[in-house]
């Protein structure tokens, strides 16, 4: 265990743990969009900036850094709110709003940090450019679900989070983990009685219908994926969790 300070308060933690995780657990409020406990910190959104002062060779050095991927180290001084930090946060929120003006989470952040205008022309219509490239859908699909149906394509502003080559997905199992995880709700899901569509990936899959209650409970492909992982077969999943 090591000791360091956050906004003056002394805290203890395991060496190397994420500053963001520790700060949040300790009750400090650091905004973030691309951080998720289930995956490795990616450091894309830049909202979780903090100031870290480290003393080495008798000299104090302060730098602005993302807290999601910064390791807890003995004796560092972390500051979560300052003029410099907030100036950066406000502009980042403004830039993201220009990209995804309808995103509720961004609007909430704008309210909280006093971003009352967007001085950049908003790119595109409803369906385009809502994504803020946080990478959570990609990471969760690859590292948690293990399907790896999504990835990035391109770079810079043309970067997108998509199925390979931006084509309709052929691997997605419609488990909707990405729908849940997306911080700006740009991955929409539609369900008819027996079909689930993950709209953004243009993937429509049939749902397995429960033999007991008759309601669809999970996409067949998702069940097949789980079955394979745990060494069972699809026929072991005939009844929905509620009826079991």
């Amino acid at each position: 265990m090591i000791e360091f300070t956050i906004d003056g308060k002394t805290v203890q933690a395991e060496r190397g743990e994420s500053l963001l995780k520790i700060a949040t657990e300790q009750g400090f409020r650091i905004p973030h969009l691309c951080y998720h406990e289930a995956v490795q910190p990616y450091g894309a959104c830049r909202l979780c900036l903090v100031e870290v002062t480290q003393t080495s060779h008798g000299r104090k050095r302060t730098k602005l850094t993302t807290s999601c991927n910064y390791p807890a180290l003995e004796g560092i001084e972390v500051v979560t709110q300052s003029e410099r930090i907030n100036k950066n946060r406000r502009m980042i929120i403004e830039l993201l709003l220009a990209r995804a003006p309808k995103a509720k989470r961004l609007q909430e952040l704008a309210e909280e940090y006093g971003v009352d205008r967007v001085r950049f022309p908003t790119s595109g219509a409803e369906s385009d450019h809502e994504c803020i490239l946080c990478g959570l859908c990609v990471q969760i699909c690859r590292d948690v679900v293990g399907v790896d149906a999504l990835g990035f394509t391109g770079r810079g502003v043309n970067k997108e989070a998509r199925p390979p080559f931006g084509e309709p997905s052929t691997e997605c199992i419609a488990c909707a983990a990405c729908v849940e995880a997306c911080p700006v709700d740009c991955i929409k899901m539609e369900e008819t009685h027996t079909l689930r569509t993950i709209v953004r990936w243009e993937r429509t899959l049939p749902m397995r219908v429960c033999e007991t209650c008759g309601y669809p409970f999970a996409p067949t492909f998702q069940l097949m994926h789980f079955a394979k992982k745990i060494g069972k077969s699809l026929s072991d999943f005939r009844v929905c969790p509620d009826c079991r």
């Binding site: 950066n88 830039l95 001085r119 990035f152 502003v157």
Partner: protein, 631 residues
């Protein structure tokens, strides 16, 4: 060739080589670097070889095709050694005449000589030409006397003597100590003391360590590394071997950008030669050291010059940088301690070992005896390009001024135009105006002025360069090359580009300037890697020193350089004599007029696209460009 198994064997082989080379034999050194390819240098070299043979001079004259000589403005070029006769702008069809008149007859062909633009006099000797005379070529000179793919040539001029000394007489810690004391700092732009980096890497826990050569050279306008790899790949390899010994590495990588095919093939040939001679592989020179090098080619991404992106690329992933809270010297390639240095940095290492710390620290600025950051030692190679007379590679001691480089060596601004500024440090650097010409060039002085030395790209700008367009150019470059991970870099650069674009196209409003400043600050503060962190520099430096141009564009819709299309208008003036050339060349049919009647020529503004073809075609200065006219 038999593998060389000891230091002693190396020296005796070198003696044999030297003895076998006739000291009276003349060499024709022909530059066959990338820059001269467009001037048919390969044809020239083969033609000369054929002529030497057919004229019976094979035992007296040898044609040596070399890498880049650096005086690219004068290609195709050749130098004879030891006579030192320099012929420039040579066409392949002159080969027969050259061999006959100059080599058989001892006559100099006057029309192929360099003419000094200042004195108007012809200069026959390479060492008298101001471009070369005013340089101190510790690194570049050797490349003019050797075939890049010939290990024998490199050995004959003293190559691998530094490696022999290191393996035969020095302990790894001693090598690191010497490199540290020399004050060698990273030539890729970062300026980090090499010895300090080597020490940290050597001491990092773990059994496997990597040495990496960064040959991505992404700064547009910089080609020093290309020339070193094309002209003298063994010197870089020797540096890496010495570094690998000092750090304790058995595997090296050279990451070369995709756009340098000749550098890759010459390096490949050098590696093959070194392996054959046992200078790469196992038990090198009987020292027990194992080492080999793999070449990895880039895929066309500037961001891969960033160390973590480069390493990701070697591992088979895209070049997306990662946070460096844990440095790559401790956890780098495949999470192992990795020492990454630039091509030119590696090439300096054999020099330091051969000539010693005292000699090296006598060159350059400052004092590194107690603080490795205390000065800038050794020489630096610059690529002097743009609106300058003598475009080419310039190697000078650290501390030489901008004026000396641009005027004494570069010959000043070309076409008699007025100097406007010099850009250094590539997309991470800035632009400095005339008042800074007497600044010494090193790691620290230019940074104080708001620019930086960077990797050595030096771009000269004149009165026809629009500084807002220039800033926009860098923003366009950076937004295209940004990996896209960080919001601040990806979105910030895009918005900054849109603003400078609006300014150039006459749509700017006054609030755009403070907004540009605000964005610049966030892009710099909040981005993960050096691409984003330094991306705002070109804009910030042009705003600092050329603010009047920005204001002219915004408030008066004027482009002082008469470059921005939206704000200029072309017209035919009274000097027109009706030669009809502009009318013929105009691709848009925008010019009308009656031949031979100069006063009838007019440009139809509704058809004109400001493509400049008429202006560039006219030999009578009869096309005028006005600004302050919004379209």
């Amino acid at each position: 060739m038999q593998p060389i198994r000891s230091v002693k064997q190396l020296e005796s082989y070198r003696e044999t080589l030297r003895k076998g080379r006739d000291p009276d034999r003349k060499i024709i050194s022909v530059c066959t670097g990338t820059g001269c390819k467009a001037y048919k240098c390969d044809d020239l070299a083969s033609a000369l070889q054929a002529e030497v043979k057919s004229q019976g001079l094979s035992d007296k004259v040898e044609v040596v095709p070399t890498g880049c000589h650096g005086f690219c403005e004068r290609g195709a070029l050749m130098v004879t050694y030891p006579d030192d006769i320099f012929y420039q702008k040579v066409k392949p069809d002159r080969a027969a005449e050259i061999v006959e008149k100059t080599f058989k007859g001892g006559e100099i062909l006057e029309d192929l000589l360099y003419v000094d633009p200042v004195t108007g006099k012809k200069i026959a000797k390479e060492s008298d030409i101001p471009f070369y005379k005013n340089q101190q070529q510790e690194l570049l000179a050797a490349g003019r006397r050797i075939r890049p793919d010939s290990l024998d040539d490199y050995l004959a001029i003293g190559g691998y003597a530094a490696l022999a000394k290191v393996l035969g007489e020095m302990k790894p810690a001693e090598v690191i100590d010497q490199v540290t004391k020399s004050g060698l700092r990273g030539r890729g732009g970062g300026g980090f003391p090499a010895g300090v980096k080597w020490k940290t890497c050597a001491e990092a826990p773990g059994d496997i360590r990597y040495v990496i050569c960064n040959a991505d050279e992404g700064d547009p306008g910089a080609y020093m590394d290309r020339s070193l790899l094309e002209g003298n790949p063994h010197s870089v390899l020797e540096g890496m071997l010495i570094g690998a010994y000092a750090i304790g590495s058995t595997q090296g990588y050279v990451y070369v950008r995709n756009e340098y095919p000749l550098a890759v093939s010459n390096l490949n040939a050098a590696l093959a030669g070194a392996r054959e001679a046992g200078l790469l592989g196992t038990d090198i020179l009987g020292s027990g050291m194992d080492f080999d090098v793999q070449i990895v080619r880039g895929g066309g991404a500037f961001v891969c010059g960033e160390s973590t992106a480069l390493m990701a690329s070697i591992e088979g992933f895209v070049g997306e940088p990662r946070a460096k809270h844990i440095h790559t010297v401790e956890q780098g390639l495949y999470d192992k301690p990795s020492n990454l240095n630039n091509v030119e940095t590696w090439a300096n290492v054999p020099l330091i070992i051969n000539k010693g710390v005292e000699w090296y620290t006598a060159i350059g600025t400052g004092d590194v005896s107690t603080n490795p950051w205390g000065g800038s030692k050794g020489t630096k190679i610059f690529s002097l390009v743009g609106k300058v007379n003598n475009t080419g590679l310039v190697e000078v001691p650290m501390g030489v001024t901008l004026r000396q480089i641009i005027y004494d060596i570069g010959g000043g601004v070309r076409d008699g135009k007025k100097f406007k500024g010099v850009q250094t440090g590539g997309p991470s650097g800035g632009c400095l105006p005339e008042s800074f010409l007497d600044r010494p060039v090193d790691f620290d002085e230019l940074t104080k002025a708001g620019s930086m030395m960077g990797s050595g790209g030096m771009i000269v700008l004149d009165e026809d360069t629009c500084m807002v367009d220039f800033a926009r150019y860098f923003l366009n470059f950076l937004r295209d090359e940004s990996c896209g991970k960080c919001t601040s870099c990806r979105e910030g650069l895009e918005r900054m580009y849109q603003i400078t674009n609006d300014i150039c196209e006459g749509r700017a409003t006054p609030e755009m300037l403070p907004l540009l400043d605000e964005l610049a600050e966030v892009v710099r503060d909040a981005s993960l890697c050096a691409l984003g962190q330094t991306a705002a520099n070109p804009v910030l430096s042009t705003l600092r020193y050329y603010r009047d141009e920005y204001e002219a564009h915004i408030f008066r819709r004027e482009c002082p350089a008469k470059s921005c299309k939206a704000m200029i208008r072309f017209s035919i003036n009274e000097r027109c004599n009706g030669c009809n050339l502009c009318l013929r060349n105009c691709p848009y049919g925008a010019i009308t007029g009656e031949k031979k009647k100069g006063d009838t020529y007019k440009i139809d503004q509704t058809k004109c696209t400001q493509c400049r073809i008429c202006f560039e075609s006219c030999k009578f200065d009869a096309v005028s460009i006005d600004t302050g006219v919004m379209r």
